[in-house]
């Protein structure tokens, strides 16, 4: 790795949908962390019986680090709830299944939770490509689904029993487009990976930017895992926009950032969506001066939660996805409490209402008419001397 990852706490470093952290980088993150780990609090002994919900997370496969972090968020939330009054006087149990990071295994896992575990709600997954088919399956089974990690706008239409505790790409896209317009760019060219995340970003940024009166000169989708992206980048360059808008991550980010520099695209502004997912891995020279946006999740509750996480696991967040999973569990618990039963339809009816007053560790989680998180704090940042600094 070219650069020791420097975590800026001010940036929430939410990394929607993508694996931004290599295993090795994770290790070096925990250098300064306290090695003291404290056990999770025991459950309140007065709780009688169980209320069971399910979760499908990528515990194996390429996104397993995220899955592990989501699992931690769920554990913390469950411990907090059961330490207190539980749900409807009962103990909350979250049954966690592995999605293996693939759509078919995710559905298999959801099937098992629904048919064997008889759960009325399932949290999951991380990748849009898996969350969408899983939520569609859950909808067909009449079970509530809560997405704690995917941001594809297609999740908007998975059904009235389906929710998200993370802002979708249309929210991020609108924020990005407004920021670009504000910076005075009249035309942009976009590059994103050819997957549901990438297509969602391209669609939402393009739509919002054009609504602002801007022009999208070209939008390219690159196939992941290639060794060379000059063709794609040259198309961007040839379309002669005011600024380039890119979103890349992990596998391909470094190559793309390198070639952006080599091909001279850095002569114009390069705007990076979710910049913390590729900037830290890039050659510092290639991303110096880059601007971009990322998730900002500093809130009063957030800080206390971060401390709890560090105490429990002996390290800082290994991704930013634990918080959304935490919020998913807590929101569901409040929904069940408010509905007075664990009936799927009743929970779904109660969730939007309780969300209005719910203070999440990732900030307010107000669900809109489609059951999606309607606002999420973002921040604009810039790379200075190799570090991401908020503007």
């Amino acid at each position: 790795m070219h650069l020791r990852r420097n975590r800026t706490r001010a940036l929430g470093l939410a990394i929607p949908l993508v694996l931004a952290l290599s295993m090795s980088a994770c290790g070096s993150d925990s250098d300064g962390a306290s090695t003291k780990k404290s056990a999770l609090p025991a459950a309140n002994s007065s709780l009688k019986g169980e209320i069971k919900i399910g979760a499908v997370l990528p515990l194996t496969g390429t996104n397993a680090t995220i899955g592990k972090d989501q699992q931690r968020g769920i554990e913390l939330a469950v411990a907090k709830i059961n330490e207190g009054d539980g749900v409807l006087g009962k103990k909350l149990v979250v049954d966690i299944e592995d999605s293996q990071g693939t759509a078919d295994a995710a559905i298999q896992a959801a099937k098992k939770l629904v048919s064997v575990g008889k759960v009325s709600a399932v949290i999951g997954e991380y990748s849009s490509g898996n969350s969408i088919p899983m939520q569609q399956y859950l909808q067909g089974q009449g079970v509530v689904g809560v997405n704690p990690g995917s941001s594809s706008i297609d999740l908007r239409s998975t059904g009235e029993l389906q929710f998200s505790t993370i802002g979708l790409d249309d929210v991020a896209g609108k924020f990005t487009a407004d920021a670009l317009t504000e910076k005075g760019y009249k035309s942009i060219a976009i590059l994103a990976p050819n997957n549901s995340y990438g297509t969602g970003i391209v669609d939402s940024v393009s739509a919002a930017f054009e609504a602002n009166g801007g022009k999208v000169t070209t939008s390219g989708l690159y196939t992941e895992g290639q060794s060379d992206y000059r063709q794609e980048l040259n198309r961007l360059k040839d379309s002669e926009p005011d600024a380039y808008v890119v979103t890349t991550y992990g596998k391909d980010g470094t190559v793309i950032n390198k070639e952006i520099f080599e091909l001279g695209l850095t002569d114009k502004p390069v705007f990076d969506i979710y910049m913390s997912q590729d900037v830290p891995d890039a050659d510092p020279k290639s991303v110096e001066g880059r601007i971009g946006m990322d998730v900002n999740s500093t809130s009063a509750d957030g800080q206390a939660y971060a401390d709890l996480y560090e105490q429990t696991y002996g390290e800082n967040f290994i991704s930013s996805f634990n918080g959304y999973a935490y919020d998913a569990v807590t929101l569901l618990a409040e929904g069940i409490e408010s509905a007075g039963s664990a009936d799927s339809a009743a929970i779904a009816a109660a969730l939007p209402e309780v969300s209005k007053t719910y203070a999440g560790v990732t900030g307010p989680v107000v669900l809109d008419a489609d059951g999606q998180r309607s606002e999420q704090p973002y921040v604009i940042a810039e790379v200075k001397n190799g570090e991401i600094v908020p503007q």
Partner: protein
């Protein structure tokens, strides 16, 4: 537990149909089809695409079968101008082409996102009852496929196919149309694979390009080789064993502390080693192909 076993059982049966299809091509006829997953994909996408337009699944199966069958026949005819090893590469290329189309023609394939919410089977049932009914359906389908594969393999057509595998010139000199025989067996196998794909899309309710990666074909190759190239029963045995092995290695992280990335590597490694080991040490597989001895006694 019952549901888990049913899940594994359904998976194994799907793979067994796939292995029977591949065995007809590779084992019986000696056609090294490295692009088997393309036929599965054609079946799955046909059912899923038509379903998303509200067409009944039966039509999806028929359309998928026809497209796959025609594609199979054309691929079989390609063997006319390509020597067997380059034909194998061409089939791999063809499968990649199908995946590229699925990935890039998002208008009707759903692109990288794939197609989800495919109508399932036995929607009037739920829970274990539904899984049982689904299992019964695929098991019945497996039995039919097995009988068809066996009759073809053991009948007069199979006799010609084995001769084509062993000595195509001899077959041609004895007035057997080698090109047509290959094309027809490819068509039949492609239909089998497409039915299996269509069923899988319905069972999982989803199909996406990530399911069309070459490793999917490779897994079925391992099943056929382990079971015994050319043996119909062997294909089913191999499918069962490898399904259990591959599914079982998912739990490798429960035993040893390694990163998820490494666990994924180990799962693939195990399959690769099993295949190579069988090729080196027991090429004939667990259930070796029998010598054909029709009517040998008066």
């Amino acid at each position: 537990m019952v549901d888990y076993l049913l899940g594994v059982g359904i998976l194994a049966a799907v793979y067994a149909i796939n292995a029977l299809s591949l065995n007809l091509q590779v084992g019986v006829t000696g056609l090294l089809n490295f692009g088997q997953v393309a036929f599965v994909g054609i079946g799955a996408y046909s059912v899923a695409i038509l379903d998303s337009h509200g067409v009944h699944w039966a039509v999806g199966f028929a359309v998928g079968g026809i497209i796959a069958g025609v594609a199979g026949a054309l691929v079989g005819r390609l063997g006319r101008t390509l020597s067997s090893d380059y034909w194998a590469i061409a089939t791999l290329a063809l499968a990649e082409l199908v995946r590229l189309v699925a990935l890039n023609q998002d208008g009707f394939t759903g692109g990288a996102q794939g197609l989800s919410a495919v109508a399932g089977l036995w929607t009037n049932l739920s829970g274990t009852a539904r899984d049982t009914a689904t299992f019964a359906t695929i098991a019945a389908l497996l039995v039919v496929t097995y009988v068809v594969a066996r009759r073809v393999r053991n009948g007069q057509y199979g006799r010609v196919l084995v001769l084509i595998r062993e000595n195509p010139d001899l077959a041609a000199s004895l007035r057997h149309d080698v090109v047509s025989a290959k094309a027809r067996v490819m068509a039949l196998s492609a239909v089998m694979a497409s039915v299996c794909g269509g069923f899988y899309a319905m069972y999982i309710s989803f199909i996406g390009p990530s399911q069309l990666l070459p490793f999917a074909t490779f897994l079925v190759f391992t099943m056929v080789v382990v079971g015994g190239l050319g043996n119909t029963t062997g294909a089913v045995v191999g499918a069962l064993l490898i399904t259990v092995l591959y599914d079982g290695t998912r739990f490798v992280r429960d035993w040893i502390d390694i990163s998820a990335d490494q666990a994924a590597g180990i799962r693939i490694l195990v399959i690769g080693v099993v295949l190579l080991g069988f090729l080196l040490v027991r090429t004939q597989g667990l259930v070796p192909e029998k010598v054909r001895t029709a009517h040998a006694r008066r």
